[in-house]
């Protein structure tokens, strides 16, 4: 890709006296992690494709505080939250979409008590609504008939009861949707949550992501679909650990849709 993506910031919108339809909250992983940045870009392409008027906070965005909160550092969490809420409220943000279930959960559920009230959507929910409004076309394309299983992110699934949006999108891609033994309410964690991403695991006999990858492998998928940058990392590592990276891909739902259309 030659040209850079067009990613407007809230500051630019403000300067022009405009307000976007939705704020895209990119999150730390989406901003800095090499693998997650690809998801971010795929999602931005879909937003452009559906002619969504969006903006990002850019350098004004800061960690939501999710890892701090789950780790028990409530103080740091609330400092982050209050700072972010000040920025969001300053721009009079009403609607937020994010590709990270952790950001999604934190802003949606834990910011209101601290003065931040927004409509918050996970990107799979937002894409589903675009689809329903006829703004986004999702077609089989190159994933048609492929064996794909979806790994439920804890903070989207159990945490917030959303199991169907990502699956609906996958069905639209006409893939062969396979369910793992542990899925939906019983879905097993990838091992990254609760700030585990940022520390070594405690002594045990296996890593959580390996266990989860083995469960995924049971259904013999060609693609493991994820909806969270951290799950993505964990499952990618798991697949590598099993030496299966040549036959099994780990992709975000947004990437699958963007790739299917060759965006």
């Amino acid at each position: 890709m030659a040209e850079a993506l067009k990613v407007p910031t809230m500051a630019e919108y403000m300067a022009q006296g405009k307000k976007p339809e939705v704020l895209f909250w990119v999150g730390c992983a989406g901003s800095f992690d090499d693998r997650a940045k690809k998801i971010t870009k795929a999602f931005v392409k879909l937003l452009h494709n559906a002619k969504v008027d969006f903006a990002v906070l850019g350098t004004e965005e800061s960690c939501t505080g999710d890892p701090a909160k789950r780790a028990g550092n409530e103080f740091l969490f609330q400092m982050q939250a209050v700072t972010n809420i000040e920025v969001l409220n300053g721009y009079e943000i009403k609607k937020i979409v994010t590709a990270c279930p952790h950001c999604f959960n934190t802003i949606k559920n834990e910011y209101p008590g601290l003065g931040g009230n927004y409509e918050v959507l996970h990107h799979t929910q937002f894409l589903k609504s675009l689809l329903a409004e006829g703004r986004l076309k999702v077609e089989g394309g190159k994933f048609k008939g492929k064996r794909i299983t979806f790994h439920d992110p804890c903070y989207l699934g159990r945490g917030n009861g959303e199991y169907e949006a990502p699956r609906d999108l996958l069905r639209k891609l006409e893939v062969e949707l396979l369910e793992m033994r542990n899925c939906k309410e019983k879905g097993m964690c990838c091992g990254a949550g609760g700030a585990q991403m940022f520390k070594e695991p405690e002594p045990g006999n296996k890593d959580v992501n390996i266990e989860r990858t083995e469960q995924a492998m049971e259904v013999k998928p060609e693609v493991i679909a994820a909806g969270c940058p951290f799950c993505n990392t964990m499952m990618t590592d798991g697949v590598k650990g099993k030496n299966k990276e040549d036959s099994v891909e780990v992709m975000d739902v947004a990437e699958l849709i963007a790739n299917a259309q060759d965006l």
């Binding site: 890709m1 850079a4 993506l5 990613v7 910031t9 990119v26 730390c28 989406g30 901003s31 800095f32 940045k37 870009k41 990002v56 350098t59 965005e61 800061s62 960690c63 505080g65 890892p67 701090a68 909160k69 789950r70 780790a71 028990g72 550092n73 409530e74 103080f75 740091l76 609330q78 400092m79 982050q80 209050v82 959960n105 559920n109 834990e110 008590g113 601290l114 804890c154 159990r158 945490g159 309410e185 019983k186 097993m188 964690c189 091992g191 990254a192 949550g193 609760g194 991403m197 940022f198 520390k199 070594e200 695991p201 405690e202 002594p203 045990g204 890593d207 959580v208 390996i210 989860r212």
Partner: protein
């Protein structure tokens, strides 16, 4: 003779119930050692949840085999206890099958109880086999060794014996009625129907009425004394859940599972720090009124809230949580069931001290460190699998988080890499050491 039996029965009844009331009062006293928490909202939704999960056992049947058996034992046990009502009246007034005036309906009830008793018996035998002969992951945990395992088995034996006594009592009673024994038989014909115990009749073949009466009375007495004993065994057992499951589900969290509570004490401090106009002396003054400044998080049972303590008494030690826990499944020390059992054990220890000395005196122990280890707490991925799996609405995760809060904010004790990522968030607004000014660089790359 008859009157002595009646008096003995009354004494047993009063003692049994009196002891039970004493235990329940201790239980409430211990739960009230925790912090107050307001869960008086949304009573309609709470009742609905209680009806579905506690009464309707909706989470139990997610595991079809044990769930189905449990429903049988649970329904059977409750319904058969209606019969206890008659036993109590008969016992107090020296009557025989006082409720038999209901005629055909009475026969139907007794017949129904008998079938349930048989089903309960079979269910309990299968439970025993699952627990002792089949290697089921959730029954193999370390925390089940010793008393918890015995407790579970005692109850199973107990229920088997109670059901046998009930059937023997009915069989001999039936035989006595057939024999036309005075006090037992009635001109109205046979009272009750005995679809199960009739098959026991050959055992009592040829026995004199006197012998039959002794057997019948013995079974009757053991049955009712057994139930009174069971009532009082509850407090020392995981079987408290048959009472506490209801309030426990009622008071469980209604918010999305992903939502953790925001600590008000922290909010107050953060507000003060962020607000340049705030009077720096306002908040501390408020705190002084309550004595020492509020402690963040939990290191002992006193720091947990009352719902969390109720949770610990309600835990059935079934291990559904632990068997879904990703940390436990991969060999880490963490077991959400153990978190609940430790909390109860510590609370009981504190309660014992209060029983003896009238108030709590430090015994040099606390929940953190002496019961629950840091290593367990840090292994949790906060995935909520335990919360989702629990059939009685327990939230082990909330206790884990509360104790992490203590470790983080009061002790600054966290695994090294985690502490570093916290510093990163503080300084650069991301858990990694990247500059906040580079946050939009991804848009320009490629």
């Amino acid at each position: 003779m008859q009157i002595i039996a009646q008096i003995l029965f009354l004494i047993a009844l009063v003692a049994g119930i009196g002891f039970f009331v004493r235990n329940i009062r201790r239980l409430i006293r211990n739960i009230n050692l925790g912090k107050e928490i307001d869960r008086s909202d949304n009573s309609g939704e709470r009742f609905g949840k209680m009806a579905k999960i506690a009464l309707g056992q909706s989470k139990m049947v997610k595991r079809p085999i044990s769930g189905f058996l449990h429903v049988i034992v649970y329904v059977g046990f409750i319904i058969i206890n209606i019969e206890v009502l008659e036993i109590i009246i008969d016992g107090l007034f020296g009557t025989h099958r006082i409720l038999s005036f209901m005629g055909g309906f009475y026969s139907f009830l007794i017949g129904f109880f008998e079938i349930l008793a048989l089903l309960v018996f079979v269910g309990v035998v299968v439970f025993w086999i699952r627990r002792n002969l089949i290697n089921i992951y959730r029954f193999l945990g370390n925390e089940l060794k010793g008393w918890p395992k015995n407790d579970a088995n005692y109850i199973l034996y107990f229920e088997m014996v109670l059901m046998i006594l009930f059937l023997v009592m009915n069989a001999t009673d039936y035989q006595l009625q057939l024999n036309g024994a005075p006090h037992y038989s009635s001109e109205a014909g046979i009272m009750g129907s005995f679809p199960v115990s009739q098959f026991l009749l050959p055992i009592f073949d040829g026995m004199s009425n006197a012998t039959l009466i002794i057997i019948e009375r013995t079974a009757w007495w053991l049955h009712i004394l057994g139930i009174l004993f069971f009532l009082n065994y509850l407090y020392y057992s995981k079987h408290l859940h048959i009472l506490l499951a209801f309030p426990n589900v009622y008071y469980s969290k209604l918010q999305p599972q992903g939502e953790f509570n925001n600590l008000q004490s922290v909010t107050d401090e953060v507000k003060l720090m962020m607000d340049p106009d705030a009077d720096p002396f306002a908040a501390p003054a408020e705190e002084e009124e309550e004595g020492e400044p509020e402690k963040f998080g939990a290191s002992d049972v006193f720091d947990l809230n009352r719902v969390q303590l109720l949770n610990s008494y309600t835990c059935t030690e079934c291990g559904r949580c632990t068997s879904e826990c990703p940390a436990n499944r991969t060999g880490k020390k963490l077991s959400p069931r153990k978190i609940m059992m430790d909390t109860r054990d510590r609370l009981e220890e504190v309660g014992e001290i209060i029983n003896k000395k009238g108030k709590y005196e430090d015994n040099g122990k606390q929940l953190l460190g002496d019961f629950i280890l840091e290593e367990e707490l840090w292994a949790c991925t906060t995935c909520n699998a335990c919360v989702e799996a629990c059939p009685v609405g327990i939230d082990p995760l909330s206790i884990i988080v509360e104790m992490r809060r203590y470790l983080m904010m009061e002790q600054s004790s966290a695994p090294n890499e985690l502490a570093i990522s916290m510093t990163n968030i503080e300084n650069n607004g991301a858990p990694w050491p990247y500059n906040q000014q580079d946050r939009l660089n991804w848009a320009k790359e490629n």
